[in-house]
């Protein structure tokens, strides 16, 4: 197991788009983090059921989406691309289905490479079925077997990069989040989620090594993006969502401690922190994922990205053509701009403009500000163990917000300010020892989770 005790990128000016100290070579001749930003295109089915009967339809959709995307990529001579196949529940439920679509996509990518020499790679994101049971068992049971089998079969079928949005600890985090219980959020991410990540990613890396492909990375989507969504809808304070973002970094770092090498998942906005610590490339999504979700991070998300993604778009018709093709074009033009900046030696300036453009409008965006990212990353590597790291990163994040408010870099509403006081108290009240924090979880949320599921 890797152990990160110092940052790979300690100088925030070296934390820029397209460049990572440890580039990842994969798929058909693609090197990610080598000085260019590449599009990562992601797509999904329109409104329909996935059954044995409709599977012909499903195949047709993926075939059409791939042809459209590759047609557009060729037309715009994109320098390279990653295609993400994010599985829908039935595709992992019946892992053979997921594998079949994986093979379908991979075959098209290989053919495309032969014809055009455009480097490309396929990321397959298996669905984590393990939260089907309540409370989830995580380490055993049919859902667990199927999820792992999903990885095995997709690796065989031609996946170049393996990813998942794993759900360990989420059953507790969901509750804590809804009650605005920061302590519970920190403990569930730092103890439970962190333990499950280590357990799971150890095995994913094994599978990746067995097939000589890439162990990519995970996403705290179910944790922090849920918080971001809810804050965006005015259901939770943005300051809480911002701290939850910082809190998710040590949890997602666990994958890298277990051998993941990136690119991290597009919806993992903790990516920049991971990049600073590990030096591995990251995928990000922002304004050009407007098809998938609204976001307070539209520009700043691109500031340090190595892959630029649209997260997901259904195969529906627009005036120009089908939506996946339209968003392939959009990503390509964004990347062209960033790559021009890189070629001209203006990447840092471009990064700073992307950052400046969002900061005044969102406290959540502040968590992606390169200096803040480095501070949080530092507080993580300075500490040992999931819980302590998580607590530390939240403390650092909180201070960063306080400073930004003092310096009027950004402003928040009055209720948000009231919440800042509540959260300060919550942080001060957090136990120093992981054991105590675990007891807190057991007393508060004992009914929704099983310690055994985490080897406790």
């Amino acid at each position: 197991m890797k152990n990160y005790s110092k940052l790979t990128i300690a100088n925030h000016e070296e934390l820029v788009m397209g460049i990572s100290p440890h580039p990842v070579r994969c798929g058909n001749d693609l090197t990610i983090g080598d000085g260019k930003v590449y599009p990562e295109i992601n797509f999904t089915l329109p409104t329909m059921l996935i059954t044995k009967e409709t599977f012909g339809e499903v195949r047709k959709h993926y075939t059409e989406m791939m042809s459209n995307i590759l047609e557009r990529s060729k037309h715009l001579n994109v320098p390279g691309l990653v295609v993400e196949f994010e599985q829908l529940p039935p595709m992992t439920e019946t892992p053979e289905w997921g594998a079949e679509i994986t093979e379908l996509i991979k075959t098209k990518l290989n053919k495309f490479y032969d014809e055009t020499n455009i480097p490309n790679a396929l990321r397959v994101t298996v669905l984590d079925l393990r939260d089907a049971d309540h409370p989830p068992l995580l380490r055993s049971g049919e859902p667990t077997e199927k999820t792992l089998k999903g990885f095995e079969l997709c690796a065989q079928a031609g996946a170049d990069i393996l990813s998942i949005e794993s759900v360990g600890g989420k059953e507790v985090h969901d509750q804590a989040l809804m009650y605005g219980d920061l302590y519970g959020m920190v403990a569930s991410l730092g103890i439970l989620a962190h333990r499950d990540m280590s357990w799971l990613w150890n095995q994913i890396t094994e599978i990746a090594n067995k097939y000589d492909i890439i162990s990519g990375g995970d996403s705290a989507c179910g944790f922090s993006n849920t918080a971001m969504q809810l804050a965006g809808q005015g259901m939770l304070p943005s300051v809480l969502a911002a701290l939850d973002r910082a809190a998710s970094a040590p949890r997602s770092l666990a994958a890298f401690e277990q051998g993941a090498v990136g690119p991290s998942k597009d919806c993992a906005y903790e990516g920049p922190i991971i990049k600073a610590i590990t030096g591995y490339p990251i995928s990000m999504e922002g304004k050009s994922a407007c098809c998938a979700h609204f976001s307070p991070l539209g520009n700043i998300a691109a500031a340090t990205a190595d892959l630029w993604s649209n997260e997901s778009v259904q195969n529906v018709r627009l005036l120009s053509g089908n939506a996946p093709e339209a968003f392939m074009e959009l990503l390509t033009y964004d990347c062209r701009l960033y790559n021009t900046a890189l070629d001209e030696g203006n990447a840092l300036m471009m990064r700073n403009m992307l950052v400046k453009s969002d900061i005044p409008h969102s406290v959540e965006a502040l968590m992606l500000e390169p200096k803040v990212v480095i501070e949080i990353a530092q507080s993580i590597v300075k500490n040992k163990g999931g819980y302590n790291q998580t607590k530390a990163s939240v403390q650092t994040a909180f201070t960063a917000i306080e400073n930004a408010l003092q310096q009027n870099v950004l402003s928040i509403s009055n209720i948000e300010r009231e919440w800042m006081d509540k959260l300060k108290k919550a942080i001060d009240a957090m136990a120093d020892s992981e054991e105590e924090a675990l007891d807190y979880l057991k007393t508060m949320y004992g009914d929704v989770f099983k310690p055994e599921a985490y080897g406790l």
Binding site: M178, G180, D181, G234, L236, I415
Partner: protein, 221 residues
């Protein structure tokens, strides 16, 4: 209304569950929803009055604040907790039928879909609004809805779906329900849906906003 009911409704609004509960700090040590409800009953105040003139008013106040963006889900959840503490004392009267709730509401996330945050918020709002909510959880198959409907024949049904690939389950389920009981109202929600879709599958309405939804229910009731 009486001071007592006034006080009680404040406990609900602020989420003061009982004397021990440390939250909210400024009410530390004071009596909470639990004690005050018991006291009200002892004083012989009609359960009906306690429910409508105190508890519901407290809940509505948080609900309104929430709508105005002056409160968040956590505020509503702790209010709901206080509400539950109070309701525990009123339960016998509901069972005896002496006091009536707004009605039964069966809710769940459709088969194949595990997204439940939205559904849970709807449940919370409905409970707070005085509905008896039967939550079937996530990944709920059509027959489960139908089955439950046998126990609560007058219930409305609400379904949630977040995936384009589970939305169609709503059609199957709506058909199944309408078959056995054509008059049952079926409502749907979830980010990817639309009123259009609701019409297409023969549901009785799509609502993106639970508060608007509960107003609608009040209106049609």
């Amino acid at each position: 209304m009486s001071d007592l009911l006034e006080k009680l409704s404040i406990c609900i609004e602020r989420g003061k569950v009982n004397e021990q509960s440390p939250f909210p700090p400024d009410l530390k040590g004071e009596l909470g929803a639990d004690e005050l409800t018991k006291q009200a009953l002892d004083e012989g105040i009609a359960p009906e009055a306690i429910l409508n003139e105190s508890l519901m008013i407290g809940m509505r106040k948080v609900g309104d604040k929430f709508e105005e963006g002056k409160a968040f889900i956590p505020d509503m959840l702790i209010a709901a907790k206080a509400m539950n503490a109070a309701m525990a004392h009123l339960k016998p009267f509901f069972e005896s039928g002496e006091v009536e709730l707004k009605g039964d509401f069966i809710i769940g996330t459709v088969a194949g879909d595990l997204h439940d945050i939205g559904k849970n918020i709807v449940r919370m709002v409905l409970t707070g609004g005085g509905w008896n909510v039967i939550d079937l959880g996530t990944d709920v198959k059509a027959d489960k809805f139908v089955e439950t409907l046998q126990q609560y024949p007058n219930a409305h049904v609400g379904m949630s779906a977040l995936l384009t690939t589970t939305m169609m389950q709503m059609e199957t389920t709506t058909k199944a329900i309408k078959e056995v009981s054509p008059n049952t109202k079926v409502y749907v929600g979830g980010a990817p849906l639309s009123q259009d879709f609701s019409d297409k599958i023969g549901a009785d309405g799509y609502f993106p906003d639970p508060n608007k939804f509960i107003k609608h229910l009040a209106a049609v009731a």
